[in-house]
């Protein structure tokens, strides 16, 4: 019926009309604007108000920023240049131009010998060669003047890349060390480098003899080996005890009441090795550490060192043993209940009281210890979340395989729980990293502390916006990309599990 109808009736259309263009208001930019900005009266009002707000903020900030003066030796010169150009307002970016290396690295010394012999060799020869300028008997005041002239001559960029090669290399290697943890596609052998990285970083940053970090690493391995061997021979618990005794003998004095000079073993080994083969870099005291580098060092070491402790605390908090659980809960709640700044003051004012008389850590180390304890409480909560998110079946499956507690944790539970926790760990790191700015209150030279030092010089006294903005931007860029990365990880891990 329909068939014949279609063939016989001529007034039915047999070709489609070309699609008509949509009405002008329903296409392109206009439609987009209407739908996204002016979909209703209230929305339109909001849009107009926000456009006005953006305009008024930008019109206040942009001229100041863009007309900024980059080339001046002091705030006074900046003001003179500003008046000369007839500007009403202008940022004095010259302070950043002159001091950005200081904000990044604090007073960490540059490798001046390398700089001089690579980029300043003619003048170095004129001054009498490497030995005459940098040798042990040289005139220190003349050396300082030589270095100042050299740095002014070769420029900040060269100083950045070559003078600070030690912290830069430590940072680059950090990326290499973290990569296999975050990307499971990378070869697993790289994990060994991740384990070795802390020792490499300490050697690069603090310098001194290479045998210090090496013998600490070897000592740790030795203690673990001792524990394993004994465990294989006579049971896990005795093995653990043997391992602890080995650690005590190597790193501490196990017999505090009978000091026979043999323990701890480590300094002796280091001393012998160093005497036999003195290899090392120039030792740099922690007081010279500063700037953005300091924030990265404190943040990174805080997170890395607190991971094991945090895992133990998280497991302890879930323990069926009431005393263990109680200890862990108390520790976590006390640490989390008190602000970091109070802990930092404790590190700076009180930690020396708690340690045996005569011991003296430098402030940076005390701060790292305190930050580690602080971060471990927060990490414990993150890991606890990961443990809780794991289906109960996983625990039961491990039990049904006959694994004991530690094996079950090591082989089944923790690998999965930690994987879920990675975004949380990264977020904790971002928080900790931002909180490192608080060390300014105990006198460490973090970026904000350096702004104080810079403002105390006669040239830059009275400047602050430029410094705050620069430091704030540094932190923002770093944290923003970290948090984006953590979100990406979160998404990736979620799809894995569905």
């Amino acid at each position: 019926m329909s068939d014949t109808h279609a063939h016989s009736v001529a007034f039915a259309r047999d070709t489609m009309l070309p699609p008509a263009p949509p009405p002008p208001g329903e296409t392109g930019a206009i439609r987009w604007i209407r739908e996204n900005l002016f979909s209703s009266w209230s929305n339109g009002l909001l849009t107009i108000v926000s456009i006005y707000l953006i305009w008024s903020i930008l019109s206040a900030i942009l001229p100041w920023t863009l007309q900024g003066i980059w080339d001046a030796g002091s705030l006074g010169e900046c003001r003179a240049i500003r008046d000369e150009r007839g500007l009403s307002t202008a940022a004095c970016w010259a302070v950043i131009n002159e001091r950005w290396l200081q904000i990044l690295f604090g007073f960490y010394p540059t490798d001046n010998q390398l700089l001089a012999s690579w980029f300043y060799s003619d003048e170095l020869a004129a001054a009498g060669g490497l030995e005459a300028v940098f040798g042990p008997g040289s005139n220190s005041t003349a050396r300082i003047e030589f270095i100042a002239a050299m740095k002014a001559d070769i420029g900040n960029l060269v100083v950045f890349f070559f003078g600070y090669w030690r912290p830069l290399m430590a940072l680059a290697l950090l990326v290499v060390a973290v990569a296999p943890i975050l990307y499971s596609s990378l070869p697993r052998k790289l994990l060994w480098f991740s384990l070795a990285y802390p020792f490499v970083a300490v050697f690069l940053l603090w310098g001194g003899t290479i045998w210090g970090p090496v013998s600490v690493a070897v000592g740790l391995v030795a203690a673990i080996l001792v524990g394993r061997v004994v465990a294989a021979a006579s049971g896990a618990l005795l093995g653990m005890l043997a391992g602890i005794v080995a650690v005590l003998a190597i790193f501490l004095n196990p017999l505090p009441f009978a000091d026979i000079g043999l323990f701890p073993l480590l300094p002796h080994v280091t001393g012998v090795l160093n005497a036999a083969m003195p290899i090392g870099l120039e030792a740099i005291p922690s007081d010279d550490f500063g700037g953005f580098m300091l924030a990265i060092i404190i943040g990174t070491s805080g997170i890395v060192l607190s991971l094991p402790l945090g895992i133990v605390l998280a497991l302890g908090r879930q323990s069926s043993m009431p005393l263990i659980k109680w200890i862990c809960v108390t520790f976590i709640e006390v640490i989390r209940g008190v602000p970091l700044i109070v802990w930092l003051f404790t590190a700076s004012l009180l930690l020396n009281y708690f340690l045996p008389p005569g011991t003296n850590f430098d402030l940076l180390l005390r701060v790292i210890i305190m930050v580690t304890l602080f971060a471990s409480a927060y990490l414990a909560e993150v890991v606890r979340g990961g443990l809780a998110a794991l289906p109960k079946g996983q625990y039961e499956a491990a039990d049904s395989l006959g694994l004991d507690y530690w094996k079950a944790m090591r082989l089944i539970v923790l690998p999965q729980a930690l994987k879920i926790s990675i975004p949380g760990i990264v977020n904790t790191f971002i928080g900790l990293f931002k909180d490192t700015t608080l060390v300014v209150f105990i006198g460490l030279r973090d970026p904000l502390g350096l702004t104080n030092a810079i403002r105390a010089t006669a040239e830059w006294n009275g400047i602050y916006w430029e410094l705050y903005i620069f430091v704030g931007l540094l932190f923002f860029v770093f944290c923003f990309f970290m948090s984006r990365y953590s979100m990406y990880l979160e998404r990736k891990l979620q799809t894995d599990r569905r």
Binding site: A148, P285, G358, N360, R445, T457, A458
Partner: protein
């Protein structure tokens, strides 16, 4: 009881190895090869880093002088930045060998905090700075004023005392650092900025229009600023005290960095100079130093007057007059005990 602690994974050889407490400060400094000097985080004219990270200033020079006396090298100093809150604890805990951080010598600090002030390198006093267009000519007219003040210092105690004694009211605006105080004052968030007069002068020197601000004539406190050492290590205290005295004495006797080598080459007519410069007697050995220690010190940093002129004198941006800090022969308070 001597214990050694070695935190394995953290510690680096030389970073935190157990230090025996039996060593005297002098021995520690010599073993370390550098002086740990507790310094300000930044105060114009007294301690501030230049673009290369080299510290300059009046207090810094004293540290360099001590380093020269003990180690022979003015650059062998590690400057440990200390806040006004952490400075005395850090010194007591042995984190620094000497504290030169414009700290006021007071009774309780000397006795109760177990510190020793070994001298005065700058006689200061607390003053007030106001805008000249306020028309205030005396601090007693400041009834009801808002006063910016750095916390954690003796200044806030003095301030409270001054206003209470004069029976006038004020509103304190505490600030954390000198830079912060300056910013608040310039923006008009406080009418008055109070700190040591040297600090006021240094601050005023950096203003765009310095002439619009006046420092009021009242000095409401005595602020003798000086180097501090730990109580109990008197040998070390002696070294710091006499290094300072050597700088003062050198100015009194006209020994400068320019002529000190020449004067030390052979005994001069003045036996005081000879003893100071070690060409007569064995004064250096009495402190466990080389006999020509004072020569090195003066050659490296100059005498007191030179240090003053170079860092905070009238030709510098800070622009301080000698005032109380002139030699006693010029009507000031600087008076070095005799070298004999």
């Amino acid at each position: 009881m001597k214990k050694s602690v070695f935190l394995g994974t953290l510690a680096v050889a030389g970073l935190a190895a157990g230090l025996a407490s039996a060593q005297s400060t002098l021995e520690q400094v010599q073993a370390r090869g550098s002086l740990l000097c507790g310094s300000n985080e930044g105060l114009a004219g007294f301690a501030a880093p230049d673009a290369n990270g080299v510290w300059q200033g009046f207090d810094v020079s004293l540290c360099r002088a001590i380093a020269t006396a003990v180690l022979g090298d003015p650059q062998a100093v590690e400057f440990v930045p200390l806040t006004s809150q952490t400075r005395f604890t850090a010194l007591a805990a042995g984190e620094v060998d000497v504290l030169v951080r414009n700290s006021t010598w007071t009774y309780s600090r000397d006795t109760d905090l177990n510190l020793d002030f070994v001298g005065v390198n700058y006689y200061d006093g607390q003053g007030f700075m106001v805008r000249s267009d306020l028309g205030v000519s005396s601090a007693t007219e400041l009834d009801g004023a808002t006063v910016c003040i750095q916390t954690g210092t003796t200044t806030e105690l003095n301030l409270a005392d001054f206003f209470r004694v004069n029976n006038i009211t004020y509103e304190p605006v505490p600030v954390a650092t000198n830079a912060e105080g300056q910013q608040q004052y310039l923006a008009g968030a406080c009418d008055v900025y109070t700190t040591d007069v040297s600090g006021l002068a240094a601050t005023r020197a950096t203003f765009e229009n310095a002439s619009e601000h006046v420092i009021l004539p009242e000095i409401v406190s005595k602020e003798p600023l000086g180097p501090v050492v730990r109580h109990g290590d008197n040998d070390w205290g002696d070294i710091v005290r006499w290094t300072l005295n050597a700088l003062v004495a050198a100015e009194e006797y006209g020994v400068t960095s320019a002529n000190v080598r020449e004067l030390a080459a052979a005994p001069t007519a003045n036996p005081e100079i000879n003893r100071l410069l070690g060409t007569e007697g064995e004064l250096g050995a009495m402190m466990g130093l080389a006999n020509d220690w004072a020569v090195n010190v003066i050659a490296a940093v100059g005498n007191y007057g030179e240090v003053f002129e170079q860092n905070i004198g009238e030709n510098t941006p800070v622009g301080l007059a000698r005032g109380l800090n002139a030699q006693w022969t010029d009507g000031g308070l600087l008076y070095s005990p005799p070298f004999r």
